[in-house]
């Protein structure tokens, strides 16, 4: 087994275990612990990106998710009443809907993988190099890219609107 394979299984296992501990930690119901496991899960996923030679994606994954989004999550969680959160139990409705949607997603993933016929010959379009990725984003995928930007702008405007107490 090559060293890449060992790392792949290591990071994949870490991602899955940590992701599981985010939603169903048997030891504690503390939201901060969940958030920290989500951070670990995100970082191990960045490791998987590195193994795919997608260095840019890996760096951005850590920069945006682990470094910014999760810090904000933690920030908000700490301002909440944690004891109240820790006392909450699983509700039947939540568990049922969760299991059903996970099952559906799994079915889609399995079907997609089997019908696409995973071949080893697929070359990634923008491997590693940031330049190539930038060129692709601003030529071939310009429209989706701009639409995503507009989506973010809408979210920002929405936040400002919601946080203003009186609209004048």
């Amino acid at each position: 087994m090559a060293i890449q394979d060992i790392f792949f299984y290591l990071f994949a296992a870490l991602t899955l275990i940590c992701a599981f501990l985010v939603v169903a930690n048997p030891f504690t119901r503390n939201p901060v612990t969940s958030a920290m496991f989500l951070v670990l899960s995100i970082i191990s996923m960045a490791g998987l990106f590195v193994l795919l030679h997608a260095f840019f994606l890996a760096a951005v994954q850590i920069l945006v998710y682990a470094g910014a989004v999760m810090v904000l999550f933690l920030f908000v969680i700490m301002l909440l009443d944690l004891k109240e959160e820790a006392r909450r139990h699983y509700k039947t409705f939540g568990v049922v809907t969760g299991v059903v949607s996970v099952g559906a997603l799994l079915a889609i993933a399995v079907r997609a993988i089997t019908t696409s016929g995973l071949s080893t010959g697929v070359q990634p379009q923008a491997e590693g190099a940031t330049n190539a990725l930038g060129k692709l984003l601003f030529t071939q995928y310009l429209l989706p890219f701009e639409i995503v930007s507009v989506l973010l702008l809408v979210a920002m405007v929405g936040v400002i609107l919601l946080s203003k107490k009186d609209l004048k």
Partner: protein
Amino acid sequence: MDWFNHLNPTFQSLIISTIKVVGVFGAVLTMFAYAVLAERKISAWIQGRVGPNRTAPPLALKIPFLGALLQSWGMFQPMADGLKAFLKEDFTPNYVRKAYFWLAPAISMVPAFLVLAVVPFGSKLGNEPMVIANLDVGILYTFGIVSLGVYSIVLAGYASNSKFPFLGGIRATAQMISYEIAMGMSVIPIFLYVGSLNFSDVITWQANNGWLILYSPISFVIFLIAAFAETNRLPFDLPESETELVGGYHTEYSSIKFAMFFMGEYAAMILVSAMMVTLFFGGWTLPGLSTPASTIAAGLLHIGIFVAKLLAFMVLFIWVRWMLPRFRYDQLMDLGWRRFIPLALANILVTAVVLWMKAN
């Protein structure tokens, strides 16, 4: 060196990398120890005091002249400080959250060391480039890892389970997130000039075209000030302002755990100094000395130049700390969000337009 050439390449690179890692690690720890001494000596000098000048191990004073001189410079003080930190009682209050209480100091130095792995600290020694990992997305990686630095502080605040550390942790989070944005945007003009995210390319470009501070002084000013905020140094040390918060996020910590936070702060200072040297001041180059070294002596000289520039920034950090009063929290936020972020955005735009005009 004959046996070395017979090893297979994987082992060779492994051995060389290990040597480099241990070297950088040792250099940073030594630098930390003497940065604390410099901090005490410079503060004493600014305030008209003498500073540490008594500590000496028993035998050192037997050395004629030199022993007494080193004693008066306080050169043995870091040893005594380190020993004290280890030997003091490590007290854990019974109301803290144990797991995070241990985790927070343990991870306080990790980001700084991870980032130093991609900073080129010299040109070459023999055939070996003086950088641990020559990463193509070096700068992005740097900012990614730097942004993880906030976790140790926020977890310390949370783990302490008491009011003042918590407030310190919350302040630190808000401050570091705010200034990370300004810091990240301030270096975008650098990418625009250089056209690469690799630190080695940044240095090569500067060797050919002159230091980037001449091209983009506004970037440097924003980066420098954001660096002060990121490392929680005065005038932006709100997370640990002792007059308001007792001690900030590390109030409940004692002994070596406290020292770990202390080391984390200095490691972060070394890190941002290294980044400023690399991004704006040409790294290991000096005008006239910018071709990669072909001899060992030239290679060592380049490392020396890098370290000298880095130390100059460390002195600046210490100097500013003892010269300026602390900002108010609202002033800090105002400066970050309303001044630096728009300024950084304008800087990016103007740089882009200028480069576009030049290209036409």
